[in-house]
Symmetry: C2
Subunit: 464 residues, 2 copies
Amino acid sequence: MLHKLFHPESVAIVGASNDPGKIGNVILKNLISSGYRGSIFPVNPSQDEIMGLKCYPDLKSIGHSIDLCVIAIPARSSVAVVQDCVSLNVPFIVMIPGGFAETGKDGKALQDRISSLIEGTETRIVGPNTVGIYVPGSGLNTTLTPTDRVQFPPAGNIAFISQSGALGLLTMDTISEFETGIHSFINVGNRSDLDELDILKYLASRSEVKGIALYLESIPRGNDFFRIMKTAVQSKPIVILKSGRTETAAKAALLHTASMATDDRVTEGIFRQLGIVRAQNETELMDFTRTLSYSRNAHGNRVAVVTSAGGVGVVTTDLLSLPAHPDLKMAEFSERTKDEIRKLIVAFGSVQNPVDITADGSVSQVNDILAILNEADEVDLIILYALPQTPKMTMDLVDVAVKWQRSGKPLLVGVLGFKEAKGMLLSLEQQHVPSFPSISRTVRSAEALAKYSFYMRRMKDAAV
Amino acid sequence: MLHKLFHPESVAIVGASNDPGKIGNVILKNLISSGYRGSIFPVNPSQDEIMGLKCYPDLKSIGHSIDLCVIAIPARSSVAVVQDCVSLNVPFIVMIPGGFAETGKDGKALQDRISSLIEGTETRIVGPNTVGIYVPGSGLNTTLTPTDRVQFPPAGNIAFISQSGALGLLTMDTISEFETGIHSFINVGNRSDLDELDILKYLASRSEVKGIALYLESIPRGNDFFRIMKTAVQSKPIVILKSGRTETAAKAALLHTASMATDDRVTEGIFRQLGIVRAQNETELMDFTRTLSYSRNAHGNRVAVVTSAGGVGVVTTDLLSLPAHPDLKMAEFSERTKDEIRKLIVAFGSVQNPVDITADGSVSQVNDILAILNEADEVDLIILYALPQTPKMTMDLVDVAVKWQRSGKPLLVGVLGFKEAKGMLLSLEQQHVPSFPSISRTVRSAEALAKYSFYMRRMKDAAV
């Protein structure tokens, strides 16, 4: 049970320091500034006090139970600290230092020593060679990156497990732009003990987690992967960016985190069979996870598109209809649907799919059209473009999108542009309407939802 | 010769108005606020003065030569104004109103009347059904969108011709985020007279234009297209987003701008033959045009990747090596290249391609590695990730990137993240280093450059 790893009542930081050049300084600063309210015990034999907190020479001197020990000293010295954690029954260690298996034979031997120390004990390790973990809901930030360099997202419902530390931190930084809420970020590093599957099993059991994003360079524990994922996907959507797909990339991955990549055709087959949605890059990883976490499932793959800019509708239709996107198709509107839309929009608009309400289109027209499309049997999901360039397309559009996204068919919103657009995207994200700053990101996310919905229907049918 | 369309010494706005609900109000406001320094003549029979400018009842009363007449009154009334322009030898009309060919038979008849009025005269028309034109270098903004809704980019070297008004405006708004400079934006609308080819021919002849972006829903004048493009691509890179590719999308395009789409296989073949680079969506349209405008050509397609985040290197290698990206391949480093890099970076970094300088990597290491790669025969172009999450990766990296991009092999820069990253992207863009906020946008743009470079080499070989 990993609950204390995510919600520790006390954290010791071995290697805490007043020196801003040290990782132990950054981690302590991050932990304090992220609003962690449990006990914090800095450990450093050469200090009495750090950042206003009493500092201890070693773990044993603390004299208080420790839920989580963060180790921020070099690899060689860390062995003794792991030994101390075991003696003190510290349940969790986050091991920051590199210099283990990823560096070659000697490092591998050092890592094996640590593994053998915890064998059969109650102590579990995240890392080594991890950038740390971040759990905004419990104010826990043990990452090694200064917050002036990487912004951390607010609390939310998306869990993010990453085999790569930097890619994980940079991706969190990126999604901070629209304040995408996350439940937790875990970088497993060299996964000497706890790996993605252990973490995922815990997260899948938590009702506050609505979706799980994984960055993997190699599949951990083949058979277990299948078994654990099979259960996990029943309870939440799982999106994976699995790299090391090509031979060249697999070699790069091996150099990066000391783990072998799996044949990509095998991976692809397993993902499909399990109902895992696959992302191609870091942008899709987060776009897809947001979409699946925020949306109910679609009953089919027929998409209706609503736009106030004709060209945006045409480009969307192209992307939707190209062979590269087999999971979606444009809905064919019934005469009744077209007639109803015709009553609402100007004569030179289009009542066919994509619906073009033109520059004359207003927020109330969008609302009425969404009502019609939600009733239309021939439509399974809806892409709405909220394009702020015309005067009648005000911020009220956000409320309309929120209303229909909560009550109706799955709704994805594309928002092109800069200042006005950013404001819209921020409001939509805060209210968990999946929204995207480009046509192709919108279409690709709709495709991910259609694919996931298909998996879920198949699973339900198989269960009957 | 279209010079006066882009640099008019005087502009009349028919339909200028004090009423903020009227398009003639927005256009006059935009023209004044964009810093246009020629003469402005508002025309409106019911006003004596608008925004501090003397207002005229009609064009004839102005008593001054007019280089450009912007018509911002309804379709039916505009016929008489075109007639006036012809009598007064006004060389250019920008016709804003919709209600012409795009609305059906009656509108088509009206458009034909206007075309016959200018036949054999010196008067040329942009539009009707255009959102206007924007030429920041001459302070000319005749677009109908309030600047509080859409931001306009600063002056620069990229020309943008769009068959869709809204898509064009929204794309300009989007690229304003990083202050991408543009030479001009022209929305041809229904192209009753001047079309993309006329505009393109002029722009291709201008030395200040470094690249041309086109959004097309249909290919104008088949044979002329081939002939004019063939000459134009000799002088600058041309990137086209051609939509209406699929049957469904072609139908949508027809409803949108009253023009038939071309069979996409034909289009694809023509583009390849001519050396036109094709974009799939509005993001790529601008990314590719920036890249080709800012970069010299590559001698081949072998890419070196430099990163401080291993995972970013692995994902990049994947994208580069997948069958979907046949135009690029990972460079295989010689032993000498590897040895030289080995001297610079930490032992657990990677000296193979992708070069992983790890979180320990510094700006001066990047500089030295770029020096090595620029000397290495096995490398044709370079992707550098400027990742601001580690302390040694400061803003000085921008200067290093600028230096090598100007003096060395083509260099593309990927920058992931939010606040720090945005600052870096802005600085890089200002100095014309092609830079992108995601891995896939970086890789796709490198691919566009490799493709374009291949076209240019082929063209040169053919000429020998």
